[in-house]
Symmetry: C2
Subunit: 188 residues, 2 copies
Amino acid sequence: MPRWEAGARDRLQLAALDLFASAGYERATVAEIAAAAGLTERTFFRHFADKREVLFGDPGVFDAAFLDAVAAEPRADAASLVQAALAGGAGFFPDERRAWSARRQAVIDATLALQERELLKLSGLAASLATAFADRGVPQRTAVLAAEGCVAMFRTAFAEWIADGETRAFATIADEVVAGWRALLATG
Amino acid sequence: MPRWEAGARDRLQLAALDLFASAGYERATVAEIAAAAGLTERTFFRHFADKREVLFGDPGVFDAAFLDAVAAEPRADAASLVQAALAGGAGFFPDERRAWSARRQAVIDATLALQERELLKLSGLAASLATAFADRGVPQRTAVLAAEGCVAMFRTAFAEWIADGETRAFATIADEVVAGWRALLATG
């Protein structure tokens, strides 16, 4: 048996999402997910540590969309780096991913264990962004604030992007959220 | 047996923190926590749903420190409401709570299950703040961004407040963090 099945990861994620949506997260088992994907439990566990991980994929790939953009941004002030990070993150969410993302989020929002795992992943992204900003010369506290703000803006843009009937591209929404964020801080 | 033991909540939290720090979160049992506090398991479960909850206390009381300040703030622009919320939150962290908060945070940071629960609590605070800001007339998206930013600033200020050797009051640090946040957005 080969150690790698083409598309196994994607098939497992799709099967898991279907099962979580129909049977509920708690009742769905890894064996059922693997069977629905036409794969074995062994294969499942080569890709994911446990059931809780299956919807999250490889955080390295997701985080890299933001971090690579930070590394490539020529300007080194915090606001420009935040904007670059969000634009990079937008690249992870092309329009053809929108329906999947919306279905996936509905399952996460309905499941406490998955909500917690998602928050932990985003917390990890914030920590990586803070390090990336600091590496670009942003002072430590500013780097942490910028990173937390960046993740907050990402979550806001993402929620709008997957809303019913929304058609704007992720990048367009992200730009509007950044503008709104700046306006917010300019007042008061 | 009375349904309420004086200080039971505090005693259970203190006992739990001691046990988590010495035996580790996973190994400590509710029975041991209750025994160390001189109380019964029944009493534990009157106060906390499970072991994972014991360090978090009543989120209503914590959140109210922020939310009451928002309701009482005369100015209704988002930046002023954020500042008011943080000043209110600072009231929850007098200097005499600092040592406890630092010990508690060290245990949380060392335990994935507690990190996740903490993130969920803070996410709940952000949602409540967004509603409170919107109730004061802040537009929806701005309210969400302001709430997420507020929680990010809170976390940043809190981390500085419990750092080794730190002596500044929480409110002082929070003011500095707000100023840094504004400066961050003003550049770029």
